[in-house]
Symmetry: C2
């Protein structure tokens, strides 16, 4: 085992040990720690901004893109945003210690199934330093310790924030190792973290598809896969055209870089000639490039057109681009969505209720919509409180997930000397 692996394992074991006392601390004590974290961030905002200035200078010198620089940048307002987010966590209901089930089993042994923290949560993320505070906050709130791994571009900012939060955790009477951060930018550290099955209880990657796929492929620690959204809108022959256009424009153009944005449009052939010219012109006017199939090519509209290749059906553009396909009907639409979709958010626009119900039932995705925009897929919108991410896997957590996904349960059995007959 090399030095990096030893360093990461030691760090993780200390964090795991710290998780023990946190796990059975009272709701009040955990909330107080989260509020102390918020107060410390406000009080020491200058330290955070100084560290961030170092990262920003290095990133600018390395010719980093404006988009990435904006994600990296911290301002007094953004630091206040982190602190406010922490305060909000303290107001969430406690997901720990709920009795999920209770009964007497054979011989009169009393069984209780109780929600408990997972233990040690690893979060691996990229350029946004604010994830440090979000991640640490939701972990402490739910009685978990965390081990954090920020992107190397944001290393100074992330480490500064994590140290301030660990100080606050310590001042609140907990082991400061409950907020641990990997203080090396060596890429091998992520690999070492992913090998720690049995020490790290879950690994949550938050970032681009590259990071997420690396974690899914390499991690021995269970992963919650997040984020990739190749979301479709299917316009059924019974659709109200005005509703369809409004939903498409909202889902495609309101925010293009998000995972619940629309990436692909399917239109029934019986209405294609009537529906598409206006719909595509509207997209074109908003600067959206249309990747269309052969039949779409025949539609006259005002905007830029590119031939769609097989690859386009599986692409998450995260840009002002959309693939458009004409389908023979709902069977073909559902089959297309189930084949090319990423299981994130899918929508049908139809006035025919039977078509809506079929689509809702037969499409295999975390969130399926009839006559509403895929943009609603969001932990806040769904009423979950602070969102950690949007899971595209089916085990443990599906769709937007929050505090509850950082808990598991334990069976507690109380007897008076019973043995199994």
């Amino acid at each position: 085992m090399n030095d990096i692996a030893v360093y990461v394992e030691d760090l993780a074991r200390e964090a795991k040990a710290a998780s023990r006392s946190l796990g059975f601390a009272s709701d009040e004590a955990r909330c107080a720690a989260v509020r102390a974290m918020a107060a410390a961030l406000r009080q020491r905002a200058d330290e955070v901004l100084e560290a961030n200035a170092i990262d920003m200078d290095a990133a600018r010198a390395a010719g980093t893109s404006e988009g990435l620089l904006d994600r990296l940048l911290l301002t007094p307002e953004r630091v206040e945003g982190m602190a406010a987010g922490l305060d909000k966590l303290a107001d969430l209901p406690d997901p720990v210690g709920r009795v999920l089930d209770e009964r007497d089993i054979s011989e009169g042994v009393h069984l209780g199934r109780v929600s408990v923290p997972l233990g040690l949560v690893a979060m691996v993320y990229e350029a946004r330093p604010n994830v440090t505070a979000d991640a640490a906050g939701i972990c402490i709130r739910t009685g978990n310790a965390c081990i954090l791994r920020g992107g190397s571009i944001a290393q100074n900012s992330c480490v500064a924030i994590a140290r301030i939060l660990a100080d606050a955790v310590e001042a609140s009477g907990f082991d400061r190792a409950a907020v641990s951060i990997i203080e090396t930018t060596d890429r091998a550290a992520t690999g070492a973290l992913m090998a720690l099955r049995g020490v790290v209880d879950v690994l949550i990657p938050r970032g681009g598809a590259g990071l997420i796929q690396r974690c899914v492929r390499e991690s021995l620690v269970p992963v919650i896969e997040t984020g990739t959204g190749n979301c479709h809108i299917y316009v059924h022959e019974s659709a109200d055209f005005a509703k369809a256009r409004a939903i498409i424009m909202n889902a495609k153009t309101q925010r293009v870089g998000v995972c619940n944005a629309c990436e692909s449009l399917l239109v029934d052939e019986s209405i294609a000639d009537a529906f598409l010219p206006e719909a595509l012109s509207e997209l074109g006017a908003a600067g959206v490039v249309i990747h269309g199939d052969e039949r779409v090519r025949g539609v006259a509209f005002a905007g830029e057109f590119v031939d769609a290749t097989e690859e386009d059906w599986g692409r998450e553009y995260l840009a002002l681009e959309i693939s458009v396909r004409i389908v023979g009907g709902i069977d073909e639409a559902i089959a297309h969505v189930n084949r090319y979709g990423t299981g994130h958010s899918e929508a049908i626009v139809a006035e025919d209720e039977e078509a809506c119900e079929r689509f809702l039932r037969e499409v295999d995705a975390a969130a399926v919509y009839a006559n509403a925009s895929t943009r609603f897929t969001d932990g806040g919108e769904f009423g979950l409180g602070a969102e950690i991410g949007i899971s595209t896997q089916k085990l443990h957590a599906r769709g937007p997930f929050a505090a509850e996904a950082l808990t598991t349960y334990k069976y507690e059995l109380r007897g008076a000397g019973q043995v199994r007959p």
Copy 2:
């Protein structure tokens, strides 16, 4: 991609396609299919027994141990047992289609969270052919398709059973690919199956530690880890000795080859001299070999003694052997259990209620007992209906798990053209 990988992927894709119609079939239709599977097994028991005779002959010729031969053997009674198990599944409540949550979100979009089948479940198992019927039955009952991979020693038996069950599924109006079995004993097939992330929704290994660890290490498909139980019984200084001895004898000797059996005994030093002679003599009389630490060595008792090494604390003997350690008190006991345990079942024996509550709270395991035998950890005992296995992981399912673990949920959103503001 080699031939085996192509074969397995084609098989899995057909099974996945078959899962679609099964997933939204009615409760009645799925129950009828499971009953038809039971009837077919009864009617064609001779075919099963003939195939099993071929496996038994080959296994005997290869010098297979008596224990393994017994696991492989099918008799008319055991075939009837499989059929009865299938009938019982039809009586379980339907875990699919439950509305878990319901509300209006912003703009009046209606949100429902509904339980749905996972899709395609892979089960990988070893010598017991009856797992074929158990696995296929619980999958069909819960609206999932399955792809099965039995041990090569049981190949003829497993394939015969799976074909009969697939015939019954087909006769019930479903695609027979909903019960698929890998019909090659090539070891590469398991590897190919584990690579099919996105097609196979979950992989559940049922067998020895070698199989389970291979799946955990190699699988890209999410795994539910089952089975390993290094279970401890901790005798606190406040323990009622008679209760403690009864629990230890039950947990260690009632069935030695099961994962909820006791493998390790911890005793407070203040009562060691008073408690251990009789407790160890009782174990010795039952043929249990004691692996003791230095201080245990000084106890006079009737039975066989071996020096415990560091390795012993982590061992799951699955035999008439037990490790015994004297501890300084509850702190040391909890730390030992959390370090060496496998997160399965752990017990304290104590009359002091505070000690019991501390142990229940601070031990990190699926099932934690105060004053009862670890042998109660079982899906049937816990009231879950047909048990699939006992999970030692924390995500998705922990402890004994059954039909519900083969479901996930989906958000269904119904609107009238709403877009996100």
